[in-house]
Amino acid sequence: MDNIILEMRNITKTFPGVKALENVNLQVRQGEIHALVGENGAGKSTLMKVLSGVYPAGTYDGEIAFEGEVRNFKAINDSEDIGIIIIHQELALVPLLSIAENIFLGNEMAKSGVIDWAQTFNRTKELLTKVGLRESPDTLVTNIGVGKQQLVEIAKALSKKVKLLILDEPTASLNEADSDALLNLLIEFRKQGMTSIIITHKLNEVRKVADHITVLRDGMTVETMDCHAEEISEDKIIRNMVGRELADRYPPRDVPIGETILEVKNWNAFHQHHRDRQVLHDIHVTVRKGEVVGIAGLMGAGRTEFAMSVFGKSYGHKISGDVLMHGKPVDVSTVRKAIDAGLAYVTEDRKHLGLVLNDNIMHNTSLANLKGVSNATVIDDANELKVATGFRNKLRIRSSGVFQEAVNLSGGNQQKVVLSKWLFSNPDVLILDEPTRGIDVGAKYEIYTIINQLAAEGKGVLMISSEMPELLGTCDRIYVMNEGRMVAELSKAEASQESIMRAIMRSGEKK
């Protein structure tokens, strides 16, 4: 009697070097709200991209049945045509077009190319009423808040005769009231018989709206839970999300921890563009000699913003607070000063912020410390070559030589080039932002080994990572960050995936 609208069977999707999904099964019933939960990188977004045709049929294994028929989507249009609409976390709206224009973009109400504005406006008004948005159809999207933009996206989905609505972390950037309104809207839609899949990190929301919960972990389905058959506790969900053994994926480290090198006190910062939104609140962080300190948190917790604001005020404005190195206050107002003070920041976005891609390994290696390879501004080629070759051998960068362009390297080797650059600037403290994102298991192990070597050399490491096992496996101490605040500080003994998740969830609900 269960009326299954969507069934994904044994979906396996491989990227070069990484198995993103392995035999994933997902069943969604007609007219329900189905929650998809899992850690960052568990494969939720990949699964939805497979479903919507972003990854076309043939690039993955397994089959998708929608309304009882096996479907092979070649492109997003194919899935949209039969009523599967996905709303991505980064909204796909054109800021300088009106609400009406956005809703009917690519799907204009037109006769032989001429838009019928009267009809467009009338339809838009109907749709906006349905989603409960009181705005004029000709308001520009840039002039309304994120919460309302989310509603415009939903209205856009409704305009396309949606049967299955997929929302990828719809409330990630919304405040409490907007989130509630959105969830109530979903419940309203359910009454009208619409089916939705909601991907979220917020377990209280899951408990509020979901009929079924599917948990993904490491690209595999762990369990699908029926919320009506039994009481589902958050602890159970968390256990399912993180329940994995820490195997020997992390090289051991035995380094004595010394005195404090870096101390950041009372650190506050405001958003780069929304100038009255405070993104960092009174943050206090210390890193000691030979210590690897982690910062855990969900995406959008403010970890990268924190690191970049400390590193030469590269993010944010109205930044206040003190940075001390070896107990003395230092000036970090520009990147150069931060480097000279002994800091280095390995960015999470190595392609856009870390490397000059069309330049070679040698030139990338010397970029942050050109003084170190030159005499009176003339570059000493021989010295530069020696330095670059030295790092290439030390970090085992696999390439045809130091003259290979960075763009042609694998992710892991690119990351090692970025590390070379910062090691050559000889910092006391390295801030590593998602140092192993998008690189394969073998290369990850090598990166961990390099981190251990750095600690052994007496440097301090501050590591931001969304992979909790990685933090637990490598860090001596872990800060937990949520919504711009440090919400917990856990010693190695206290830290576990459950304790980190709990700290995040509790702080989120307290508000």
């Binding site: 150069r336 870390g354 970029l367 942050a368 070559l385």
Partner: protein, 398 residues
Amino acid sequence: MSSTTPATEEHPKVSIATYIRGNLREYGMLIALVAIMVFFQIYTGGILFKPVNLTNLVLQNSFIVIMALGMLLVIVAGHIDLSVGSIVGFIGAIAAIMTVQWQMNFVIAGILCLAIGGVIGAAQGYWIAYHRIPSFIVTLAGMLVFRGLTLFVLNGKNIGPFPRDFQQISIGFLPDFIDMGELHSTSLLLTIVIPAVLFYMAWRRRKLNESHGLEVEPFNFFLLQNGIIAAAILFLGYMLSSYKGLPNVLVVMLILIALYTFVTTRTTIGRRVYAMGGNEKATKLSGINTERLSFLTFVNMGVLAGLAGMIVAARLNSATPRAGTGFELDVIAACFIGGASASGGVGKITGAVIGAFIMGVMNNGMSIVGLGIDFQQMVKGLVLLAAVFFDVYNKNKA
């Protein structure tokens, strides 16, 4: 991963064919330049390579080459400068007012002109670097403003002639110290010394690279390549020496080419400009003051445009309101023909110089043949498109 053998530096034997393929772009442009020269030599019935025409060729193109040096840096940094033609006109006008009307010493006037060029570059660079206004817009504004200022200071009239000393910048030749009759001794001496020095430097570089285990071109190819370069310089130098000698402006140009090649390939500031053009954010996060760097590339461009302005005015022997009109397009085209990338980060001084001479030889050859200005423009436009297509095609194939 167990297969982590430390990477070793290989000593690959490169064949001539693979070497040329790896450096296709530079050789391609050089071969194109030679082919164009040979074509016009035949087509003009031997006029192109006559000493008097070669001298003209140098005089006509020196200012384009000089500005291309600065423009290459601007383009590599990820910007563009449309105002250089107007700056040429404006500086020419200022130079005429100072030397003709105020009868100022030509050295002081020259220095002031360079300084004013620098200030103009700084004024534009300020908006581009520190206020992030696109360079296309700022220099488009500059193009209009400085053309207008030229008209204003000249009051719509020509000013000339220039004092003899000032004219020498453009139309003077190296003086002789030993009398050799038909041949000019100083020029001939330089003609022999320059290739010898170049050959020695190439040789030393090769030895240095070899000792560091770097890939070097096959020895025969090295000899052939440098032999051809030396022969070409000897030939051109001899031809010029048999007419009036080496023009002063050629010497200035050669010194600047050498200087800018050195700056772009060997110094930290050159490296930073390339890095900034390749990825500005990553460069900034590596502790490099990218704003100041952008600013300086425009100051530099302004100084070189100022120099070009004096050369143009001295050559025409009068400052005219229309001087320099359209030069910016020739200069920009020279850089793109020479392999610079419109998105920044890529380009070489040698490429820009070759690109400028390709344009120059075509201008010269087509004028000798008597091709109308209409066809000249079309041909130049198509050559620019073909050269950049060649680039894109090669990149996609790789």
